[in-house]
């Protein structure tokens, strides 16, 4: 594993770096404008989304050219533009973007593949009534994904990451009237959420530990020198350092988004979305975001590694990746839905990418990511073309013989399939997978990942052959007449097929341009590299893999036209293994029995608590208040009013009593007068006694 050479920090950002923010901003603005349009305005939506993404592509190419120019001159480019979002106390929350080889390459890939898929969608979604909504969400996704790519602040990355997750939810559940689609969207969101929680923990920890949110900040960034030494020195738990722990937390987030082993369950269900969505999000870009994230924080993952050695974080990444690769490949063998096979294939290839990152470094993993993006998008779009041509049929057992009915689709699909299988020399998939196998072979800790990846490659070839045989060879077993797709759909296929072949050039050992570009070294053309015995061994291994896989597959399925109702050939051979594979190793059932069941139970408890305990408390307080009110009323009526009324009665009675003195008879008055006189006289006499 090569250590990355230091990039000389750029003091002033170049013009293209300053306007880099436009690249994600344009599609997001387009999405906003489309959302405000009155339905249906198909032309406007199309123009806005494709126009904004084209503009982003143009800017990405300029940025890429700029970085390449810098690299060619030997002055490596890593330009950052950072700014403070807000400040509380003495801590600042910073955002920013970075332009370096990694981000520029990813920018070009995302915008280019994205644009092709956008154009493809014009044809694919032409009959759908929610065309405008589709492009609105698609543009939003593109903008958010590009935001993830250029982000220099882990907070900005997380925000874009979440928007990507949101748009994935919206697009998987695009046909929300279908209950399976709505459920799949929810499953995707919740599963990635689990990963995102760990990711957030990692972010917070990193921020607390290093004091900055920025990756690169002229030496003060969280994955630059000072911060890394601090993180390494800080112990966490179980004998790990903080760097390892944070790295594992961030990997958990990446594992959710990229469908690694425990959190892979959402990806096959995500095939409920329209095929362009599957192509863009669940093949080329969103699922690659996890891999990109690990590549971005690679200095953190790699911190503390001795030359040629590995770190605990990277070891975990490797094992998870290798396990995922094998696991998903096994399941893909027994699937019958054309898109589901490709979904499991994607999970498997993502495992390869993660293993590549762990085993060989950023360049190895990223190269496979780039090549995979092209041929997997190609395969998905080809599958979409097939589905479209077969009038929305997705079961491969009901297809067949389409090579004559849909020749262009067949040709491009074939190229994609061969690239995925890693057929040597001519196809880019071979070069990228080869690099991974080479790193696995040279891993100091164990050879087990190598064997797992090799077996996975055999299985990949096998199930792809199976799929192509079912779909394109044999006789047509469907009901309707199949037809070729329109040119707006087949042209992007052709372009992608071209790149599926051509991209191999930049990754060969003879001219390892990609690796050199990412690692900031000079790339020399040396054909001697082909003559090295290690490389020749690897070439032989790959040939054997391909021959085994394709040969076995062709023997079982090639050119036969199995009946849709009859059991699969392999199923007849090993029925119980087939059952396990077809039922996806019962992972979903396991989750349902444990986590989901627990969650439902917990929800019931919470409901009970809410209704009985808290509700009861509220009811008790209410009852107390009622009682208090009643008491007050009683007091008011009886005590206060009573006293008052009583008092008035007394006065009235007293007045009545006093009034009886007024007899109306004069003589009585006279008598009283006389009596008073007597009394007066008596007093006078008595008081004047000597």
């Amino acid at each position: 594993m090569q250590a990355a050479t230091l990039f000389t920090p750029q003091l002033a950002a170049s013009p293209i770096a300053k306007i880099l923010w436009l690249i994600p901003a344009m599609p997001i603005v387009a999405s906003g404008v489309i959302s405000l349009l009155k339905q249906p305005r198909r032309k406007a939506a199309t123009v806005l989304s494709i126009g904004s993404l084209s503009f982003s592509l143009l800017l990405s190419l300029i940025a890429f050219a700029h970085v390449v120019a810098g690299w060619a001159q030997g002055a490596a480019v890593r330009e950052t533009v950072n700014f403070t979002w807000f400040q509380f106390g003495s801590t600042t929350v910073d955002l920013g973007w970075v332009l370096d080889p990694l981000s520029s390459v990813m920018l070009v890939m995302v915008t280019f593949v994205g644009l092709l898929i956008f154009i493809y969608s014009i044809g694919y979604m032409a009959h759908d009534e929610n065309y405008t909504r589709f492009f609105c969400f698609l543009s939003l996704f593109a903008g958010a994904m590009l935001g993830v790519v250029i982000s220099n602040s882990i907070l900005l990355l997380f925000m874009s990451w979440e928007i990507v997750g949101l748009t994935s939810y919206l697009l998987i559940g695009f046909w929300y009237q279908k209950p399976s689609a709505a459920a799949a969207a929810k499953k995707a969101f919740l599963t990635t959420r689990v990963g995102d929680i760990f990711f957030l923990l990692g972010i917070v920890w990193l921020f607390a530990q290093t004091g900055t949110l920025l990756f690169y900040n002229h030496g003060a960034g969280s994955i630059e020198g000072w911060a890394l030494t601090g993180l390494l020195a800080q112990p966490a738990a179980l004998g790990l350092s903080a760097a390892t722990a944070i790295g594992l937390l961030i990997f958990a987030g990446a594992a959710g988004k990229s469908g690694q082993l425990p959190l892979h369950v959402w990806l096959p269900d995500a095939m409920e979305g329209p095929t362009p969505v599957s192509a863009l999000i669940h093949a080329a870009t969103m699922v690659a975001a996890g891999v990109y994230l690990i590549a971005r924080v690679y200095p953190l993952m790699q911190a503390g590694a001795l030359a040629g050695g590995t770190t605990p974080a990277l070891t975990v990444v490797t094992w998870v990746g290798a396990s995922t690769a094998l696991f998903a490949a096994l399941i893909a063998v027994a699937q019958n839905d054309i898109k589901r096979i490709l979904a499991y294939s994607t999970i498997s290839q993502l495992g390869y990418m993660m293993a590549g990152l762990g085993l060989g470094g950023v360049a190895v993993g990223m190269f496979h990511l780039i090549t995979h993006a092209f041929f997997k998008a190609l395969l998905f779009m080809g599958a979409g073309s097939v589905i479209h041509g077969c009038h929305e049929e997705q079961d491969i057992r009901k297809m067949g013989g389409l090579k004559s009915a849909m020749p262009l689709t067949f040709a491009t699909y074939g190229i994609g399939m061969l690239a995925l299988c890693g057929v040597p020399i001519f196809f880019s998939g071979f070069w990228s997978k080869d690099a991974i196998l080479e790193s696995a072979h040279g891993w100091p800790l164990s050879q087990a990942p190598f064997y797992m990846l090799v077996f996975g490659a055999v299985l990949t070839a096998f199930y792809m052959t199976r799929q192509i045989s079912y779909v394109f060879f044999g006789a047509y077993r469907g009901h309707n007449h199949a037809h070729e797709s329109p040119r707006v759909m087949t042209t992007p296929l052709a372009i992608l097929a071209f790149f599926a072949v051509a991209l191999g050039v930049i990754g060969t050992p003879a001219w390892p341009w990609f690796r050199a570009f990412l690692d900031n070294r000079a790339a020399d053309v040396s054909l001697h590299a082909f003559a090295e015995p290690a490389w020749l061994m690897l070439l032989l291994t790959s040939c054997v893999i391909v021959v085994l896989g394709i040969g076995f597959g062709w023997t079982l399925y090639g050119n036969k036209s199995p009946n849709a109702e009859a059991p699969d050939a392999l199923e007849r051979a090993v029925p119980w293994i087939w059952a396990v594979l077809r039922d996806k190793f019962y992972v979903d059932e396991f989750y349902g029995a444990t986590f989901i069941a627990f969650y439902e139970w917990w929800a019931r408890v919470a409901d009970w608590l809410d209704r009985r305990v808290w509700g009861g408390a509220v009811a008790a307080v209410t009852w107390l208040f009622g009682l208090w009110a009643q008491l007050n009323r009683f007091l008011d009526t009886n005590v206060v009013d009573g006293t008052f009324d009583k008092g008035c009665e007394e006065i009235s009675t007293g007045g009545g009593l006093l009034a009886s003195i007024q007899s109306g008879r004069v003589q009585n008055y006279l008598r009283i007068l006389a009596l008073a006189v007597v009394a007066l006289v008596a007093i006078l006499i008595w008081s004047s006694r000597p």
């Binding site: 003589q667 008598r671 006389a674 009596l675 006189v677 007597v678 006289v681 008596a682 006499i685």
Partner: protein
């Protein structure tokens, strides 16, 4: 004390008693006239000749006649059915007895400070006349007014109501 005094006092007190106790009203009126006369004699015995004769003229000559006329006009000659004394006559007697007791006690207690004899004042009618228009002219005029008002008032009060009567 001279026997004249005793005689006259007895007459006065007897007349007063009779006036209060007798049942027929006219008898009471006549009895009170006797009392007035006795009092006039007493005035005379006190050398207040003018007062005495004024008493005879006014009280016996006017007031008593007035009373008789009132008795006549209110058919007082018929004896009432319920009796002449009020239902609670005892209370009245007790009260007046108390009054007399108070007054009597006051007098008797200070009997030795009161003079026994005094020189006979020489008072002529001329002096009284002069005093009336000299010192007491204001009271005189006011009494004149009072008498006028009383006359008018008595007439009005006793007049028959013209319309809406009873």
């Amino acid at each position: 004390m001279s026997p004249v005094f005793y005689l006259v006092s007895a007459m006065t007190v007897a007349g007063a008693l009779a006036a209060v106790l007798l049942k027929p009203l006219v008898h009471c009126a006549l009895a009170v006239t006797v009392a007035f006369a006795g009092l006039a004699f007493l005035f005379l015995s006190l050398d207040a000749q003018f007062a005495g004769f004024a008493q005879i003229l006014v009280y016996i000559g006017a007031v008593a006649i007035l009373i008789v006329f009132a008795i006549l006009l209110t058919k007082g000659s018929e004896l009432p059915r319920d009796g002449v004394f009020s239902r609670s006559w005892l209370a009245g007697v007790v009260i007046s007895a108390a009054v007399f007791a108070a007054l009597g006690w006051a007098i008797l207690r200070s009997a030795w400070t009161l003079p026994h004899e005094a020189a006979v004042p020489v008072v002529t009618v001329h002096d009284i006349g002069v005093a009336l228009v000299d010192r007491y002219v204001l009271p005189l005029e006011i009494v004149a007014l009072l008498l006028t008002a009383a006359t008018i008032g008595a007439v009005i009060v006793a007049m028959h109501e013209k319309e809406g009567a009873k």
